[in-house]
C-alpha cells in the first residue's frame, strides 16, 4: 500500500526555497504589504471617493468623443492585425507553410509580437510615428498579430490533411488551396478569435493613452493629475460601460457562430 504522504522530491524543494528567497528579497526591496499603513491608505481612498462622487458630467461630450476614438483605434488596429495574421498564420502552420525556414521565421515573429506587452509596443510606436492614436493603432495591430497569429495557425493545423490533399490533387496552387480550403474551414474559429482580440484590444486601447498613444487614457491621466477626481470617475464609468458592451457583443457574435 502506498504511504499516505510521500516525501516531495528535490525539485519541489528547489522551487519552494527559490520562491521563499524571492519573497524575502522582494520584501526588503519594497515589494511588500505594509499592514500598519493600510488604514491610512483606506482613508485616502475614502477622500478620493468623496471628491469623486458625484461624477462630474460637464465634460461628458468630449469624454464620450475621446472614448469613441479609443474604440475606433481598437477596431482599426484589430482589423489590420487580423488581416496581417492570416498570411502569418499560413506560414506558421506546419501543414500549409511553404518552407521550413519560413515556418521558423513566422513562429519567431509571432513569439516576438506576443511576448512584448502592448504598452511597450505603444512606447515604441510613439517614437516611430509620434504621439496620438496612430501609434495606438499600430501597437494594437502588433499585439493582435501575436494573439491571432498563434491561434489562427493552431486552427489551420487542425484542418483534416485529406481536405488539403483533395485540393492539391486537382493541381491547385498554394494560394488557391488557402482560399478554397483553409479559409472556409477555419473561418468560424478565425472570427471567434478575432472577437476575443477585439475585446482585449478595447481594454489595451484604454490604457495606451497613458504612454501617449492616443485615446481616453490621456484624458484620464490629465484628470487624475489635476485632482479632478469627479471627472476621472465619469471617465472610469464610461470606460467600464464600453468594455462591457464590447464583451457582450463579442460573446453574442461568437455564440451565433457555434
Amino acid at each position: 500500500m502506498p504511504r499516505r504522504l510521500r516525501r516531495p522530491g528535490a525539485f519541489v524543494y528547489v522551487i519552494l526555497v527559490a520562491a521563499a528567497a524571492l519573497l524575502v528579497h522582494g520584501w526588503s526591496s519594497g515589494a511588500k504589504l505594509d499592514v500598519a499603513g493600510l488604514p491610512e491608505g483606506a482613508s485616502r481612498l475614502r477622500e478620493f471617493l468623496v471628491l469623486a462622487v458625484p461624477p462630474d458630467l460637464t465634460r461628458l461630450g468630449p469624454i464620450l468623443n475621446a472614448l469613441l476614438v479609443t474604440f475606433e483605434m481598437a477596431l482599426l488596429g484589430t482589423i489590420i492585425g487580423v488581416i496581417l495574421s492570416v498570411p502569418l498564420a499560413v506560414a506558421a502552420a506546419r501543414n500549409t507553410s511553404p518552407h521550413p525556414a519560413l515556418y521558423t521565421a513566422a513562429r519567431g515573429a509571432i513569439s516576438v509580437f506576443r511576448t512584448i506587452p502592448d504598452l511597450i509596443w505603444g512606447i515604441i510606436f510613439v517614437v516611430a510615428v509620434g504621439l496620438g492614436p496612430e501609434a495606438g493603432v499600430l501597437a494594437i495591430a502588433a499585439d493582435v498579430m501575436g494573439f491571432c497569429g498563434r491561434f489562427f495557425a493552431e486552427s489551420i493545423e487542425e484542418i483534416d490533411a485529406g481536405v488539403l490533399d483533395g485540393l492539391r490533387a486537382t493541381g491547385a496552387g498554394r494560394s488557391a488551396v488557402v482560399a478554397g480550403a483553409v479559409l472556409p474551414s477555419s473561418l468560424p474559429s478565425f472570427v471567434a478569435t478575432s472577437m476575443f482580440a477585439l475585446e482585449s484590444s478595447t481594454r489595451s486601447s484604454v490604457v495606451l493613452g497613458l504612454v501617449g498613444a492616443g485615446g481616453i487614457g490621456i484624458e484620464l491621466t490629465v484628470s487624475m493629475q489635476l485632482l479632478r477626481y469627479d471627472e476621472a470617475l465619469t471617465i472610469i464609468f464610461a470606460v467600464f460601460l464600453v468594455v462591457i458592451a464590447v464583451e457582450r457583443l463579442s460573446s453574442v457574435i461568437r455564440r451565433k457562430l457555434i
Binding site: 483533395g166 485540393l167 486537382t170 493541381g171 478554397g180
Partner: protein, 230 residues
C-alpha cells in the same frame, strides 16, 4: 514498395486489388506525388512525374483526377463550391470562391453535378450530405477537372453496399463516356471483376497478379488474400 512495373494504356480501366497494407494507396498517391516516391519513376503520357518541378507537377495533377476513399470535400462549403474546386488548377484567383467564379465555370460545375445526379443538392453543405452523395460530389469535382487520367483510392470503401454499388456504376459510366484512363484501388473482388478491363493484384508491395479481367481466374484472385501458410 518494390518492383512494381505497371504500364497502363490510354483508355484502360485497371482495378488494383490486394489485402490491406499491400500498397494500393501508396502506389496511387505516389503517382501524383501526394506521397513522394523514394525511388523509381512515374510517367503520365509524355510527362515525367518524378522529375517534375513544382509548376510542372501542378500541371500534371491538373490532368489527373483523384477520387479518395474519404471524399475529402471541404465540409463547410456547399456542393457547387466543392465542384468548382476542380477548376482551381486552371481558373486563377477568380475561381477561388463560388461567388466570384465565372459564369462559364459555374455552369460547367452545375452540369457536372447534374451528371452525377446531385443537381438538386448544389446549395447544400457537403457535411450535411450522406457518404454516397459526398462521393458523387467528389466525382463531379473530378469531372470538373477535365482529366485524362483518373486515380480512385477505394472510392466505395466508406459506403454501404447499395450506395457503393451505385457509386461504382456511376464512376464506370462517366469514365467510359469520356474515354478516361483509370486506376481504381478496390478490395471488393466482385467490383473489381465487374467494373474493370484488367486486374492487377498487389501483395507486400509487389505485383502478384496482372491479367485481363475476362480471363482472371477466381482462385488466383482469392489466393491474393490468403494468409501465408494457412
Amino acid at each position: 514498395m518494390a518492383g512494381v512495373d505497371l504500364d497502363v494504356p490510354t483508355g484502360e480501366v485497371v482495378a488494383l486489388v490486394g489485402p490491406n497494407g499491400a500498397g494500393k494507396s501508396t502506389l496511387l498517391r505516389s503517382v501524383v506525388r501526394l506521397v513522394e516516391p523514394t525511388t523509381g519513376t512515374v510517367h503520365i503520357g509524355h510527362a515525367d512525374v518524378t522529375a517534375a518541378r513544382r509548376a510542372e507537377l501542378r500541371e500534371i495533377r491538373r490532368r489527373v483526377g483523384f477520387v479518395f476513399q474519404k471524399f475529402h470535400l471541404v465540409p463547410r462549403l456547399d456542393a457547387l463550391s466543392n465542384v468548382l474546386h476542380g477548376a482551381l488548377g486552371r481558373s486563377g484567383p477568380r475561381g477561388w470562391w463560388a461567388a466570384s467564379a465565372s459564369d462559364a465555370d459555374r455552369l460547367e460545375a452545375m452540369a457536372c453535378l447534374e451528371r452525377v445526379g446531385m443537381g438538386p443538392f448544389s446549395g447544400q453543405r457537403a457535411d450535411t450530405l450522406s457518404g454516397g452523395q459526398q462521393q458523387r460530389v467528389a466525382i463531379a469535382r473530378m469531372l470538373m477537372q477535365r482529366p485524362d487520367v483518373v486515380l480512385a483510392d477505394e472510392p466505395v470503401a466508406s459506403l454501404d453496399p447499395a450506395a457503393g454499388l451505385a457509386v461504382m456504376q456511376l464512376l464506370r459510366e462517366v469514365v467510359t463516356e469520356r474515354g478516361l484512363t483509370v486506376v481504381v484501388a478496390l478490395h471488393q473482388l466482385d467490383f473489381a471483376r465487374r467494373f474493370s478491363d484488367r486486374i492487377v493484384g498487389l501483395r507486400d508491395g509487389r505485383v502478384a497478379l496482372d491479367d485481363q479481367t475476362s480471363c482472371c481466374a477466381q482462385d488466383r484472385l482469392e489466393n491474393l488474400f490468403s494468409v501465408v501458410g494457412a
